[in-house]
Amino acid sequence: MQFSPLALRLRPLLTLPLAATLLSSCGKDETEKKTLDANVYVLNQGQYGTPNGSVSGYRRETKESEKDQFQRANGRTVGDVVQSMTVVGNKGYVVVNNSGKVEVVELPKFNAVASIDGRSQPRYLAASGSKGYLTEWQGAYPNYLAGRVSVIDLNTNSVTSTVTVGRNPEKALVAGNKLFVPNGDENTISVVDLTSNQVETTLTVAAGPKSLVQDASGNVWVACDGNYGARPGALIRFSATAPYASQATFAFTAGGPTELQLSSDRTALYYSYGSAIYRMATTATAPPTTPVLRRRSFNGFGVDPSNNELYLATGSFSADGRAVRYNTSYAPVDSFTVGIGASAFSFR
């Protein structure tokens, strides 16, 4: 832009006080506007230390999107480092890591109904019936302490007990009456019996287990990223019932798979590895060598359980990002603006 006449440049200064008045009076109406009836959610971490995390909504049928559903519905930001969101019935549990809380919202309106506060570096919530299991880190980098799982009564949104697990528990899986907790800073999985809420046994896997899924045959898969690539990782399959015998180990030489997810029929795995997304049938005897999608940089991806479409989160931690939607042939079909630090998805 070239220099325009001085008067034109100074005009914003003159109109500012008026604009400020208008903006502040508009604030109240904001909460009464209807939020988009979304079914794809993008979790935007925001900037660490600053509570500008957000949850963007997208409606897959109409391709409409809304950058910050929580702000729209509640007139405030959701918090500092939005880590994950778990949808249980008509409730969304937004885990806000550096605010140490879980915001409970009603879907699709996204109005906040409760806040589960005082959590220690919370990561992910897994649910079974009316119980929620929230993984939390404890201690300080680089000398983390054993983490814990807080058992939450989803009717009262209160913590009823805690279970001590390994260091840096991540995205846990409920399978039958067991909770499999991957201890990300170790090479172990804590198996918690949900009747007694006690650690029943600890399984040894590869370094850096972060995410788990249960396939159509009932077997459990764990993705170990080699502790953020520092050591060799692996994709490991084991039985969901005691003694949880290991069935297959696919070793990765450098780093390992992360963000393990399932196709809608649970017969295929998706994971991210080295700036690419791979798809692997649960019956395969070796991991695929070519990815289904490669993109120079993305912070996370999601598989839509209703139609197996992929969503990629891109962008920086200084500006709004974009989410890109891919059809089942992995061709981009849409993209939309999301918040700062977009890094994960949740579906309804």
Binding site: R9, P51, N52, S99, A140
Partner: protein, 608 residues
């Protein structure tokens, strides 16, 4: 005539014809004796300091650049943290400083690395002849307390000056937070601080022409780190300690002067919170400067100089001790062909490990275009190229540190008017208007590489342009004296070009660069009564690079009223200061609460 001790009053303007300065002299700094340079600059000038809360990290970016693009100098040496490449103005107490000069625009030829957007020169207070001591104590809202002492002694041969400050604040003010149950009034937690500073200068005349100067500045700050509104209080705290020692020798001849200075600057930063074990950072710089100035004629002088620096750093994030050497040579020429024309031509060439930054030249001119008995108008212009050497963090951080990073460079030009008038014996007026344009290239940005490791890269070009206006008036009538200063800045700063990896959009005003800022301050003095007002306006600021979210504009009003009594050689001053008098609710940095209306009462006793 016997030579006397000539205490260094290094005014930076000599080799900076055509450049714009914003200066705070001792009178402007007086109300901030218990505060920091951050308080003084943000209260009295249209410069925008980004601060994370009262007493928290405060960084200055000039002309729409970043904090790393501001060089801060004391006794001719750069005191930016070599690890971060920037200074925290909350760690620099005003006590002991005599003046603060801010040079706008690229000026590496004069100040070396980092003077890409501008430079701040901290000038030590000079000791007046004789003996002088003063002590002051102040107490204010939110647990603010400060005590300071200064003393000086100067005779024909020796000048000694000591200055000491200790200050404390609880910063447990109220703020409002929007939460599940609506708007909640909360008390700020974890924002207390204790800070101290000691300055000691000695200047000794050696023989007829020589002079030895030793200066020491120790600062210590123990701060809790104020959590953002809505973030959990993770009990973060930071300890910052700096020691700066300078030893200089200057020898004057009839038409020349040689000066050699050696310095040792050491910085310690320890940070910890509930999620992070203490992170240690220790760095030190041993440095030396040699200068020789030829003053062939009163209107022609040339200064040649060289500088060597040796950095040593032990930082947890580097996982090993690192060392680095940097060298630079410079030439500064000042020539005034006539009383109405001043010219300067400067250049500096630095040598960095593995990289040679471009030559950094500056050319400047000031021409008196018009003059009458009581008025004069000067036209000013200057152009410069400047650079910033990569910081130690950018080069050595593991993982991600990029030893191949190129220096950032800036090219800028400015032109303006300077008007001065003396309409009557009682009134003096000054006004300055400057337009500038600045292009910063190879702007460093941390971004994840193909393996997801965050690494700094030379990614973008940023263009900044704007206008700066200021005016000053002094009026005296009988025993009433008024001084008024007004300033305004328009700043447009945008990313113009980037690489594909850099997804931040082009053509959007950079985050935390207000388009408009303004300040207006007045100082009144009548029969020992003192009244000051200081008002500032800060336009809205984007908080993201996409320009989608912003903090609203705000205006602040501060004021003070005081009384000065004289009794023989004693002087007593009582001052009641009010901060944020309109009780504005505002944020300087997103989600960081700022204090509501507050007051401070101070008492100062001086003897001379």
């Amino acid at each position: 005539m016997l030579p006397t001790v000539r205490v260094q009053a290094l005014r930076p303007t000599r080799y900076a014809a055509g450049s714009r300065f914003t200066s705070l002299d001792s009178a402007a700094l007086a109300p901030y004796q218990g505060g920091t340079v951050a308080d003084a600059l943000s209260g009295r000038t249209p410069l925008y300091l980004r601060t994370y809360g009262p007493g928290q990290l405060a960084s200055l970016s000039i002309r729409g650049t970043s904090a790393r693009h501001t060089a801060v100098l004391w006794h001719g040496f750069n005191l930016n943290f070599p690890t971060l490449g920037e200074a925290d103005f909350s760690l620099l107490p005003v006590a002991g400083l005599g003046r603060v000069d801010v040079q706008h625009g690229p000026a590496a030829a004069l100040y070396g690395t980092g003077a890409v957007g501008g430079a701040v020169v901290l000038g030590s207070a000079t000791a007046p002849t004789g003996t002088q001591v003063s002590a002051s104590a102040e107490a204010g809202s939110f647990g603010a307390r400060a005590f300071s002492f200064s003393g000086s002694q100067r005779d024909a041969r020796v000048a000694v000056r000591t200055s000491f400050l200790v200050r404390q604040a609880d910063n447990d003010f109220h703020y409002y937070s929007r939460e599940l149950q609506g708007e909640v009034r909360r008390r700020q937690e974890n924002a207390a601080l204790t800070q101290s500073s000691l300055q000691q200068d000695v200047t000794v005349q050696v023989g007829r022409r020589g002079e030895v100067t030793a200066a020491l500045w120790l600062t210590d700050a123990n701060r809790q780190i104020q959590p953002a509104i809505g973030s959990s209080n993770n009990h973060a705290r930071e300890r910052d300690q700096s020691a700066r020692a300078v030893l200089g020798y200057r020898r004057r001849a009839a038409r020349s002067e040689t000066s050699v200075r050696a310095a040792w600057f050491g910085d310690l930063i320890d940070y910890q919170n509930d999620q992070l074990s203490t992170s240690h950072s220790r760095s030190s710089v041993r440095q030396a400067q040699l200068e020789h100035t030829w003053q062939w004629r009163p209107n022609l002088s040339l200064r040649l100089g060289a500088e060597a620096q040796h950095f040593v750093a032990r930082v947890d994030g580097y996982r090993r001790p690192v060392q680095e050497q940097r060298y630079a040579g410079f030439a500064l020429l000042r020539y005034d062909p006539s009383a109405r024309l001043r010219l300067t031509l400067n250049a500096r060439q630095a040598a960095l490990p593995g990289r040679r930054p471009p030559l950094a030249p500056t050319a400047g001119a000031e021409w008196q275009a018009w003059r009458t008995a009581r008025q004069q108008l000067w036209l000013k212009a200057s152009a410069a190229r400047s650079y910033r050497a990569p910081t130690l963090n950018e080069r050595y951080w593991r993982p991600g540190g990029n030893p191949d990073l190129r220096p950032e460079t800036s090219v800028g030009g400015e032109a303006g008017l300077h008007y001065a008038a003396l309409p009557s014996a009682q009134l003096s007026l000054q006004a300055d208007l400057t337009a500038y344009r600045l292009l910063v290239d190879n702007w460093v940005q941390w971004l994840p590489d193909a393996n997801g490791t965050w690494t700094p890269q030379n990614l973008r070009q940023v263009r900044s342009q704007g206008l700066e206006a200021s005016t000053q008036a002094q009026w005296r009538r009988g025993r009433y004296q008024l001084r008024a200063t007004a300033g305004y800045a328009f700043t447009q700063s945008q990313k113009r070009r980037g690489y594909v990896q850099d997804s931040d959009p082009v053509g959007v005003q950079l985050a935390y660069v207000p388009r408009h800022t303004a300040s207006l301050s007045t100082d009144h003095d009548w029969r020992g009564w003192l009244l000051t007002t200081a008002a500032t306006f800060t336009d809205q600021r984007y908080t993201t690079a996409s320009g989608s979210d912003f903090l609203p504009a705000y205006a602040l009003l501060h004021g003070s009223v005081g009384r000065r009594w004289h009794c023989g050689r004693w002087q007593l001053t009582a001052l009641l200061q009010g901060h944020n008098l309109t009780n504005a609710r505002y944020q300087n940095y997103a989600f960081r609460a700022m204090p509501p209306r507050a007051g401070t009462l101070s008492l100062r006793v001086a003897w001379h």
